[in-house]
Amino acid sequence: MPREIISLQAGQAGNQIGSEFWKKLCAEHGIAPNGTLEDWAIQGTSSLSSQSANTLAHMHPPSPTNQVNAAGGTIPSNVGGGSAYTHGAMDRKDGFFYQADDDHYVPRAILIDTEPRVLNNIRTSPFKDLFNPENFYLSKSGGGAGNNWAKGHELGEEGKEELMELINREADGSDSLEGFMLTHSIAGGTGSGLGSYLLERLSDHFPKKLLHTYSVFPGDGDVVVQPYNNLLATKRLVEHADSVIMVDNLALHKLVEDNMELSEASFRQTNQLVSTVMAASTTTLRYPGYMNNDLVGLVSSLIPTPRCHFLMTAYTPFTGDDIEKGKSVRRTTVLDVMRRLLQPKNRLVSTPFSQPSCYMSILNIIQGDVDPTDVHKSLLRIRERQLATFIPWGAASIQVALAKKSPYVQSSHRVSGLMIANHTGIHVRFSRMLREYDQARRIGSYLHQYKQYPMFSKDFSEFDDARQVQEVVAELVDEYKAAEHENYLDYGNGA
């Protein structure tokens, strides 16, 4: 009974990143594109039938009649196999997958879009049999949201019944649902609008479940109306999501271009990068270690106050293993990796971090064959060198979670690391968002596009109400700024 996480992917970006993510997961768990286990990964599977076979094995020798799943027989019958000591494949797939009647692994994923293109791509890809076909949700119209948040939101409202039915079914299929993981972009229409709608519904329906999102923040002017979309979606992220891992398109491209021998990065590559980060951030859930084996454990130490839940990530090294055409490997030691994670150029959020900004918390997930003493030494070194600045009002540190590397994925580097951090400097990103919105709003451009939808039909109160959008984001910026100072403890009194 693992803590299941249902993955929702909305919109073009969400689905593209999502499908890359699932590919990565399949590779790491030795699951073939059709959902069956690869031969080499058959040992130590977590199929239900093997589970029952194993239960029986407690009382009887493994019975040869159990032919459905080869896994039942491959479990070492005596301790002397040697495998028990190394346990290469001690993974936990069932947090993200469930097994169909024919033992195929099916991702706990719901794919949502308003236009068929991306979903059709997935349906025709080699991974077409992986997903549950019922879990593809396409709006009736199929005409897309046209980069309009309001339309996306509206389409969500339209498909409410069906969507909630899908989600409820998925949720009922899990024993102890821990939360949801939404992958989307906040610039466009579907990911932003429909994604926002989902957040609202989910936080209402599942108040005790974690709402975790991977949100792609747009670069400069991908979409004309993005200042509106951004702000509207961000409001939902502030109010309804529990933790948001921010991925900045601008930073993504820069990162890919820096690390690849290319002048311009393709979306495919940036998507691979994001999915790498996603996969890395869930390693501790999939390869249980002594700590951080659930999402709550992972994010609770990162998020001190409810509003400050926008997390920044950094990843290293980006190599050809994860992304096409990546550069060759550098030396990777724990210290190198941890040091590099603190460097701005490896971050997935491009914001200039000004002087008083500081880390509220850092969690490093180090993957690979790591000598525990190295971690110890690296932490000492980083502290000595004061490579990271922390909040002045409370204890904060670099927490390190050691995670196994998948035994099925060959990688040319020894250690890789992901940093998830809560940094106050992130408010700069929201400030910019507010500025862009202000500019667009002043001109009043494209507002008419929103008028046709119920939410905005009467007036723009959604925008203008004091308690609304701008205010919410402004408060967020404010709180992040306040957290840079020691008197943050009394922040609540002032507000």
């Binding site: 609770s300 409810p306 403890l489 009194n493």
Partner: protein, 875 residues
């Protein structure tokens, strides 16, 4: 001369010939006449020393001697008569006599007859055997006299020595002076009343030669005491070493006696060719006057035997006997290996003769030792009936039965109970069964080497008795093979001369045996799998298992301990196994995981008395002994508590942190929730750092060191046990802050305090949440009442809620402050901790210097200066 006659049969076989019978009669005559009690028993004593030795070694000798005796005894008469004849002819021969003769005659006339050298020579033969002669006797200082020296007022009483040999009805032992008596020298006596004269030169020679006799007697006594069959006490019985020493000594003494016999023969050589004298002698023997009867068995002057010759002959033996005597003196004090050590010291002697001779002694004496050694290192059997090997069965465990412990196929029944019942056997076999006795280790083996031998045998013994039959078979084969390759024989002969060879043999055997034993532990009994499993499940390294176990057990353990039922707990453990990755573990391991309920005190909750345990049986429990399991128990207790607290905190975080977003409109609650969140964040940080420290620095680091040991597999089982112990110690010192320093150990209580603060915080936070919900409902109700949807309730408890909120706010603040000061105390304590690795916990907790590592007056009050000012940021 009855004494002399009396002694004769002692040398001979006694009543074997008619002539000796006559002699015995004369002896009893002599006894009554001369009243010499010391000679009385000798006549018939069958246990006479010389006889024993002779009869054993020189079988035909007594026969020939007794014949000779009868001859010589008649010669004695002849000599005596010839003496008296001589006096008559004195005047006649005076002129032709040499000066010496004249001198002698003059002395005789003065009443001082010189003692006849020949008589003395004969006495000398007795003296050489440690027996008093007729004219020369040992001058003894008796025990009483010695005591008298100390206390002159003592009065002699017939004291029967405690350790005296029981009287066997043959009268008192003749001449067998005991160690109590001190030989002062030789007394020359005149038993016949006539004063005789012995020249000082001769006296000196006699005294010098008599040493041999004293020493001989000492050695002889030793052998006797060791071979006395009447000694039943096993502790006093002659041990193997002593037996072989006795054997050697006996052989040597036989040689010595053979020499004496030869000498005696030499003395009487020419008697036979004097037939005339012979007849004369017989006539004298028939003489009616008994008082004039001087029966003397003296060497004839013509035999050519002199004291000088005697000294020359005996000279060779004097060194030997001296050495033997010193060995014997030492042997009385020590035994076994220690005795070998003492003898070994003699082999270091500078004199080549002594050295060689000591080596011979050592060869013989060390035989049983090397036999024991060989059996010990080749088959792990302690063959040591007299406790003289340097390995000995531990007297504490002597009574225990060490059967061969085999895993029984129990068909799934009774396995667990069985395991616990013989839980400690393997450990006892290894650790307690044998002890190493340094004092019994021969000094030519140094202590390390001795330890190695000890360990080798122990390993083999353990394989033999602690493991399965097949293990031993395989080991034995392997040992035999290697021996064949190396030495081309079944087993090399071990001697003290070839220490290098011995070392190489033992090194090799040690290597094989200990490697083999480690292999058995690691490969056959999968020690690492068990330890890994313990690390995973008892030390909760398998987070998924721990989490599920916690989730399943949590509600049960919240109830009072008395309500707990063990079978519920085992079911929950089973469920946790089935749902976590633990299900891939082999059943062999999983069936060892079990719940244990410690005896509960009246108010204990389930948490206080639940423990997860891992069952081990022989031979694994040689490593995982009870003490080790107890340490694991302690570790589990703490880690389990940590998990409980952190789970509580996390669920608190999950329940409240975001839920309060919907109550944002309750303005007066915003501040208190913010405060709560901040405190919570501190606690979450503390918990995650503490847990990370416990698992990473506390467990993973020592574990990786232990894994290194297991990969190298150097050393023997002792080193394995030591490595495991240090692994445990390292964990305890970091996870439980175990330390020699009481103050440092007290830090653990500080952690406990912090944990309890977290628990009480969760309680407050929960109350606060309920209050928030109540307030929200109240406002909603009021709103609805205003709209007239529902009737306004009579009591609008706004004030009450406000009051409660303020109370909670105060409690919260205090809780936060307490927690902070507790942490400050902890970090400060850790800052000065002697163990740098434990110190690191302080660094982890105060990574951004929020808690002062050192007490400075300024720091305690203000931390307003963040490091931002002076550090260049790399960000």
């Amino acid at each position: 001369m009855s004494t002399a006659i009396g002694h004769r049969p002692a040398i001979s076989t006694g009543k074997s010939t008619p002539s000796t019978n006559i002699l015995s009669e004369t002896a009893s005559d002599g006894y009554s006449r001369y009243n010499r009690p010391s000679s009385s028993a000798a006549a018939s004593s069958s246990s006479h020393p010389v006889k024993t030795a002779m009869s054993r070694n020189v079988v035909e000798q007594p026969q020939s001697r007794s014949e000779k005796e009868s001859a010589s005894s008649s010669e004695d008469h002849q000599i005596r008569t010839s003496n008296s004849d001589r006096r008559e002819d004195e005047e006649m021969d005076n002129r032709t006599k040499p000066k010496a003769q004249i001198m002698r005659e003059w002395r005789q006339s003065q009443g001082k007859t010189p003692r006849d050298t020949d008589l003395l020579l004969r006495d000398m033969l007795y003296l050489l055997q440690g027996i008093d002669g007729k004219y020369a006797r040992f001058s003894k200082k008796s025990r009483f006299e010695k005591q008298k020296e100390v206390n002159p007022y003592l009065v002699e009483k017939p004291i029967r020595r405690a350790g005296a040999r029981p009287d066997k009805g043959k009268g008192k032992e003749v001449d067998l002076f005991t160690d109590d008596e001190e030989i002062r020298g030789i007394d020359f006596v005149d038993p016949d009343g006539e004063p005789h004269y012995v020249s000082p030169a001769l006296q000196m020679i006699i005294v010098q030669l008599a040493e041999l006799g004293v020493l001989y007697r000492r050695v002889y006594n030793y052998i006797q005491s060791k071979q006395d069959p009447s000694v039943q006490d096993p502790l006093r019985e002659a041990s193997m070493t002593e037996q072989s020493l006795c054997h050697f000594l006996e052989t040597e003494l036989a040689d010595y006696l053979r020499l004496l016999t030869t000498l005696e023969e030499e003395m009487h050589k020419d008697n036979a060719i004097m037939p005339g004298d012979h007849n004369q002698n017989r006539d004298e023997a028939m003489s009616p006057d008994p008082s004039s009867l001087v029966v003397q068995q003296v060497p004839t002057e013509r035999s050519g035997m002199t004291f000088q010759k005697l000294a020359l002959w005996a000279g060779d033996f004097i060194l030997k006997v001296r050495l033997m005597s010193s060995v014997v003196a030492e042997a009385g004090k020590t035994r076994g290996g220690a005795l070998i050590s003492t003898i070994y010291v003699f082999t270091m002697h500078g004199d080549p003769f002594t050295r060689d001779y000591s080596n011979r002694i050592l060869d013989e004496v060390s035989k049983p030792f090397f036999l024991s050694l060989q059996r010990w290192i080749s088959s792990g059997v302690l063959h040591d009936p007299f406790n003289e090997f340097f390995v000995q069965v531990n007297p504490e465990t002597r009574g225990q039965h060490f059967g061969r412990v085999a895993l029984r196929d129990d068909m799934g029944f009774g396995y667990r109970g069985d395991v616990s019942s013989r839980n400690d056997i393997a450990y006892t076999i290894w650790e307690k069964r044998y002890i190493f006795r340094k004092e019994m280790l021969p000094i030519f083996l140094n202590e390390d080497f001795g330890k190695k031998i000890f360990s080798t045998g122990k390993s083999i013994n353990f394989i033999r008795y602690g493991c399965r039959d097949t293990d031993w078979d395989a080991t034995e084969r392997q040992l035999a093979e290697v021996r064949k390759d190396e030495f081309n024989m079944a087993f090399p002969v071990l001697t003290h001369n070839d220490i290098a060879g011995l070392e190489s043999t033992i090194d090799l055997t040690y290597k094989i045996a200990s490697k083999r034993l480690l292999d058995i532990f690691f490969d056959q009994y999968n020690l690492m799998d068990h330890l890994q499993a313990i690390k995973r499940y008892i030390l909760l390294s398998a987070g998924d298992f721990a989490e599920l176990l916690h989730r399943n057990l949590g509600p049960r353990l919240d109830r009072p301990a008395s309500k707990l039922l063990r079978h519920h707990l085992t079911t929950d453990i089973e469920t946790a196994i089935q749902e976590s990755n633990a299900r891939f573990e082999s059943p062999e391991i999983l069936q060892r995981l079990d719940a244990r309920l410690q005896t509960a005190k009246p108010n204990d909750s389930g948490w206080d008395c639940f423990a997860l345990e891992y069952k081990v049986e022989a031979p694994i429990n040689a490593v995982l002994d009870d003490k080790a399991l107890a340490s694991y128990d302690d570790l589990f207790g703490h880690l389990w508590r940590l998990r409980r607290v952190s789970t509580k905190l996390q669920s608190n975080w999950l329940a409240h942190t975001f839920a309060i977003r919907r109550y944002k409109h309750l303005k007066e609650f915003v501040a208190v929730w913010h405060q709560s969140n901040i405190i919570q964040a501190q606690m979450v940080h503390f918990m995650s750092e503490l847990q990370a420290f416990c698992h990473l620095e506390g467990i993973a680091v020592p574990w990786s060191e232990f894994v290194k040991f297991s990969e190298q597999r150097n050393g023997d089982l002792d080193e394995l046990i030591a490595a495991h112990r240090s692994y445990l110690r390292a964990m305890s010192s970091k996870v439980l802050l175990r330390s020699k320093n009481r103050e440092e150990e007290a830090l653990f209580d500080v952690i406990e305090t912090a944990l309890s603060k977290i628990m009480s915080f969760a309680e407050i936070s929960n109350q606060l949440y309920q209050l928030t919900v109540r307030e929200s409902t109240r406002l909603d109700n009021r709103k609805m009442a205003e709209r007239g949807i529902i009737a306004l309730s009579n009591i609008d408890n706004a004030d009450q809620i406000k009051e409660e909120r303020q109370t909670l706010e105060r409690r919260l603040r205090r809780c936060g402050e307490d927690f902070k000061s507790t942490l400050q105390e902890l970090v400060y304590g850790l800052g000065t901790h002697s163990n740098s690795e434990v110190k690191f916990l302080g660094l982890r907790l105060s990574f951004n210097d929020i808690y002062a590592m050192r007490k400075t007056k300024a720091k305690a009050t203000s931390r307003t200066e963040p490091r931002n000012g002076n550090t260049k940021q790399n960000i």
